[in-house]
Symmetry: C2
Subunit: 238 residues, 2 copies
């Protein structure tokens, strides 16, 4: 389950500059001379679903940039139940809080096979001190976190279960690559669905099943749904 594998480990200097997703990564704005400041190896890691990048409370020694796949940030409540507070996709960064010297605030768990860059905290800290070009990117990332949290608060934690599920579909339809013309979305386990929307797995299951029966979404492959956006928008506003 937790199989993780080191595909490659090297001094980031060489590879980061040619990174295929650099334009959307934390180091987007760095200049060649900035990369000389990287003095610790930046590893690229491959994780399978269910693997954890880190646990809540772990000492924060690294940030992570998601190159591909999907990662959830989970917060546990005192009573043991869990709530998913954010989803990280290509270009997103996990663990910003370690730049402030704090422990990780969430658990980061892989939902879909993910390729991830592990940036030692000291590397980012040093860059953060030495070059102003990192600041904007950092701020953008903080800002994205806040925005997503706010959206989840208003969109996915308010209203009836049906509205929430509908809004989740719409949200996913927006952020997913949307390879074809038809808006298609890949869903998660019903338990994760519930943890995102603040409802039980049973209601999550029931609502999705109801949507399928009503033709609002159509399941192709397992957990892949073609969406009727208009119908979803209508259901979302109730």
């Amino acid at each position: 389950m937790k199989k993780s594998r080191i595909d490659a480990a090297w001094r980031g200097q060489a590879e980061c500059e040619g990174c295929t997703i650099r334009d959307m990564a934390l180091f987007a704005d760095l200049r060649p001379e900035d990369f000389d400041l990287i003095h610790l190896p930046i590893d690229e890691l491959q994780y399978d679903p269910g693997a954890t990048l880190y646990h809540a409370g772990d000492e924060g020694t690294a940030l992570f940039t998601v190159r591909s796949g999907l990662v959830k940030l989970v917060q546990y409540l005192p009573d043991g139940s869990q709530r998913i507070v954010r989803l990280l996709r290509r270009g997103d960064t996990a663990g910003l809080e370690v730049l402030l010297g704090e422990a990780y605030e969430h658990a980061a768990v892989v939902l879909r096979p993910a390729l991830v860059c592990r940036l030692p905290r000291d590397v980012v800290s040093r860059l953060s001190v030495e070059t102003p070009r990192l600041h904007t990117q950092l701020m953008k990332r903080w800002h994205n976190n806040v925005k997503q949290a706010d959206e989840w608060l208003t969109g996915l934690s308010t209203g009836s279960a049906r509205s929430r599920v509908a809004r989740l579909f719409l949200h996913l339809a927006e952020v997913e690559p949307a390879c074809t013309g038809a808006p298609e979305v890949e869903l998660f386990s019903r338990e994760d669905l519930g943890a995102m929307l603040g409802v039980t797995t049973e209601t999550a299951s029931r609502v999705v099943a109801e949507f399928k029966r009503g033709g609002i979404v159509t399941e192709g492959k397992t957990n892949r749904f073609r969406c009727d956006l208009d119908a979803l928008r209508h259901t979302a506003g109730e």
Copy 2:
């Protein structure tokens, strides 16, 4: 209702350095020479409850530091209902998003009489470029926003209405000055309560009334409650 008054307007240079809450404000780490970079007036404004610092979508020309009082950040849903996503108290900053060139994402509305410093965006932007001493403070503020958003997601938007109200009381008991030994908390209108917890005003009212009857909280002056923390903790975990 929207009466607001300019108590004083001056070049921030002189006054910011002697600010009584500077240790908790955005400019906490600035050095004397940094203040020379302030080239626009920093106004200190007094707002009454109900006044708006800014509306969602307004062009962002300034950040605000709350010196005293209480401000809510409100996000409106397409259907017109509103959700309160954050509360700002002494030392907190509103409108960080304008540093990224974006419009305000929320409406900022005063809940309790508030004294607020209005920092022109360009002043903060310039300082942000010129001195690294602002960065840590900015990051701390972004971080606080994310943390509060996450807490609201897990604490105030999950579980039964009773749990949520109990957790809100506990949260307030933590952050309020707690002048005396007895934990005492000032509440808001039932409508605002509902908008914070994602429930209707009626359920908010019912739960608070129930708490009063059960002695879990005791109302002194209007909307001021002495809290039985143990009982609240018990109720919160259900």
